[in-house]
């Protein structure tokens, strides 16, 4: 039977179950083979403008960081081009997306997770000669993005995580992470839906030395505390928008928060405080990294240069109250209250707190939080 008549015969009958099964297995097999072929490290050549692929720069970015004010010099250098900004909800989300084949030219991870990224060869190093403002950065922070003598990540912003609370509705006896577990505020507390935030908060409250690397016994105590105090919790917030809306509406009055969210709430006129707990605030550092699969490395370098420029850094600090590693930022232009609250004037601000760190047993933390949420 010729191919044509066979096709026709199939068309005239119905496609048999065997045919369907064969087609399915054939396609799945071919796809699986191609998937196995992935993972090889792509060749990383010299960064040249002419070697960039056509099309817009793709930046896998946090929501809120896509605003043009943060990359004005890039817009001036590449008029008419508008970068694309697929959203990352957190560093783990970006990691998953890139690992499962998402194409991005640039992304914005937390430095705490960089080791995990390096283990799977997800990044390519920067050619810092293409980032003119690189020399203006705080050398201590720059160093944190270096691996094997190469610059795999360039710091761009830092800040604090702590407990935010409605000062008009909450009475604080002692500034402590323990406010998140306070019986007096049953039904008015929000926790964060995040793999490490609540285990770390509990660990700090319980006085553990290494909240990001707890022993089995410490994890068991944290589990006990979280499972017991979950009855006090109204919601687990996943996005900052949720938290802001709930605090404003009075649905919750206490929550773990990041500095920028606190600032946004203050600017909306809410009587909110950002605690400086006795156990210390959590400090974090983020920056840009170029995925190895990125197709526009030259423009990625130029975009980072624009982002860390003094003008962009000042806008960042003025509007989000995040710290910038750019040492030329004029602090007199910023709101004095926020400069004081976030230690923006202190070069060693990131050392004044509990640094967000890589979490070698993250799977245990994730499983713990799943159990708490499911309880």
């Amino acid at each position: 039977m010729s191919v044509h008549t066979e096709l026709s015969a199939v068309g005239q009958r119905e496609m048999g179950r065997r045919g369907l099964l064969g087609l399915t297995l054939g396609i799945a097999g071919a796809a699986a083979l191609s998937a196995c072929g992935r993972g090889a490290e792509p060749a990383v050549g010299e960064v040249k403008k002419s070697a960039d692929a056509a099309g817009s720069l793709v930046v896998l970015e946090w929501s809120g960081f896509e605003v043009p004010e943060l990359w004005k010099p890039y817009a001036a250098e590449f008029p008419g081009e508008k970068p694309e900004f697929p959203v990352m909800t957190n560093t783990q989300d970006a990691y998953t997306k890139l690992l499962s084949g998402a194409k991005a030219d640039l992304t914005h991870p937390s430095f705490a997770d960089l080791e995990q990224w390096m283990e799977v060869d997800l990044l390519r190093p920067f050619d810092t000669s293409l980032v003119k403002n690189f020399t203006a950065l705080n050398p201590a922070l720059v160093k944190r993005g270096q691996f094997n003598g190469k610059q795999y990540a360039i710091p761009s912003d830092w800040g604090y995580n702590s407990v935010a609370y409605r000062a008009d509705l909450v009475e604080v006896d002692e500034a402590s992470w323990g406010l998140l577990f306070d019986e007096r505020y049953k039904g008015k507390i929000a926790w964060r839906d995040h793999p490490t935030t609540m285990p770390v908060a509990a660990a700090l409250y319980l006085g553990f030395e290494k909240p990001y690397d707890m022993s089995d016994a410490e994890l068991a105590e944290v589990r006990k505390l979280l499972l017991d105090r979950k009855r006090l919790v109204k919601n687990l917030w996943a996005t900052e928008t949720d938290l802001r809306a709930d605090m404003a509406a009075g649905n919750v009055v206490i929550a773990p928060s990041e500095g920028g969210t606190y600032v946004a709430m203050r600017k909306r006129g809410l009587d909110v405080e950002f605690m400086d707990p006795v156990e210390g605030r959590i400090t974090w550092l983020e920056g840009f990294a170029i995925p190895a699969v990125g197709q526009r490395p030259y423009r990625a370098h130029r975009y980072v240069d624009a982002w860390i420029s003094t003008a962009s850094a000042e806008w960042l600090s003025q509007n989000y109250s995040y710290g910038s590693p750019n040492t030329k930022v004029d602090l007199s232009k910023l709101d004095a209250e926020f400069v004081r609250t976030f230690n923006l004037d202190k070069p060693d601000a990131l050392d004044q707190g509990v640094p967000e760190s890589s979490c070698p047993r993250k799977d245990r933390y994730v499983a713990l939080m799943s159990e708490v949420k499911a309880a």
Binding site: S8, C36, G39
Partner: protein
């Protein structure tokens, strides 16, 4: 063979191939992938150590978390589907058998919520159900609650998940019930009436049995997606709203445990298939036709 005839034969063969390819590409191939991840034939992150590993399957039965979550989700989905069908039936009945003018305009009204984004509709419910929301404000104005003591179970609770899911799925359920009611031959009701059946008897012995296929379809249409729902519980479920779908989403995106995630996915699929087979068997055994009215 002349090229034109060959092309014509290809075209003749196409109709059977197109749906088959769509079915294979969009449903069966992804399922094969999930199946392969669930038994370790594929791994995430990609690894050269791939090989059969059934620990994910044994793990689900030894873990109380996932089975508890599954039962919780089945309960919520069953409650939602029952409420939705109960609310959708009178609406469909009204549209199919009572309204004569502007029927399609009214039907369009039922579908109106689809013209806005799903997320917007869910967020609107947060405004309605919140501590300072519409319901609490009205309750306060009517003296049903004291100042500073809002009705707290309305938002961030399982009740909130059920309320929002019922609202979201209601229009979907109206359509199949409407369709089955509209296709009932009006002469059957006339015959029932001529034979002395009251309106209620006619409904119970003629209309309801004949509309059961639509009711069943509506129930399944609501129950199945509610079972795997994760967005609504995340937005309005609060600390106690975590469901099976949330665990699935978390395993794939946060825990990066695609093996367990795939096992849970396959387990859900098998459970739904089993439920469908049971429902079909029951339907076949009971017939689904109206019984003769006696007396």
């Amino acid at each position: 063979m002349a090229p034109r005839r060959v092309a014509r034969r290809h075209l003749a063969a196409a109709p059977a191939w197109i749906p088959a390819v769509v079915l294979v590409l969009l449903f069966l191939v992804p399922l094969c992938y999930i199946g392969a991840y669930s038994v370790g034939l594929l791994r995430f992150p990609p690894s050269s150590e791939a090989g059969i590993d059934l620990s994910g399957w044994t793990g689900i039965f030894s873990s109380s978390i996932y089975l508890d979550l599954f039962l919780r989700s089945v309960t919520v989905a069953a409650v939602v589907a029952t409420l939705v069908v109960g609310l959708a039936y009178p609406v469909a009945y009204f549209l199919a058998l009572i309204v004569t003018k502007r029927r399609y305009a009214l039907l369009l009204l039922v579908l109106a919520p689809f013209f806005t984004s799903f997320l917007l509709r869910v967020f609107a419910w947060k405004v309605i159900l919140g501590a300072n929301g519409v319901v609490n404000s009205v309750a306060y104005e009517l003296g049903l609650r004291a100042e500073g003591d809002p009705i707290s179970f309305l938002l961030y609770s399982r009740v909130a998940v059920i309320i929002v899911l019922v609202y979201v799925w209601l229009p979907f359920a109206v359509l199949p019930i409407y369709s089955s009611l509209e296709s009932i031959d009006g002469r059957l009701m006339e015959a029932a009436s001529d034979l002395g059946a009251s309106g209620a008897q006619g409904f119970r012995k003629v209309t309801l049995p004949l509309s059961l296929p639509g009711v069943g379809a509506a129930f399944v249409l609501v129950f199945v997606p509610s079972l795997g729902e994760f967005v609504t519980p995340q937005l309005v479920g609060g600390a106690n709203g975590f469901m099976y779908g949330n665990a699935l989403q978390e395993l794939f995106t946060t825990a990066l445990d695609w093996k367990t995630g795939s096992v849970l996915t396959m387990f859900l699929l098998l459970a739904v298939l089993l439920a469908a087979v049971v429902a079909k068997t029951i339907s076949a055994l009971t017939g689904g036709r109206p019984r003769a009215a006696h007396g």
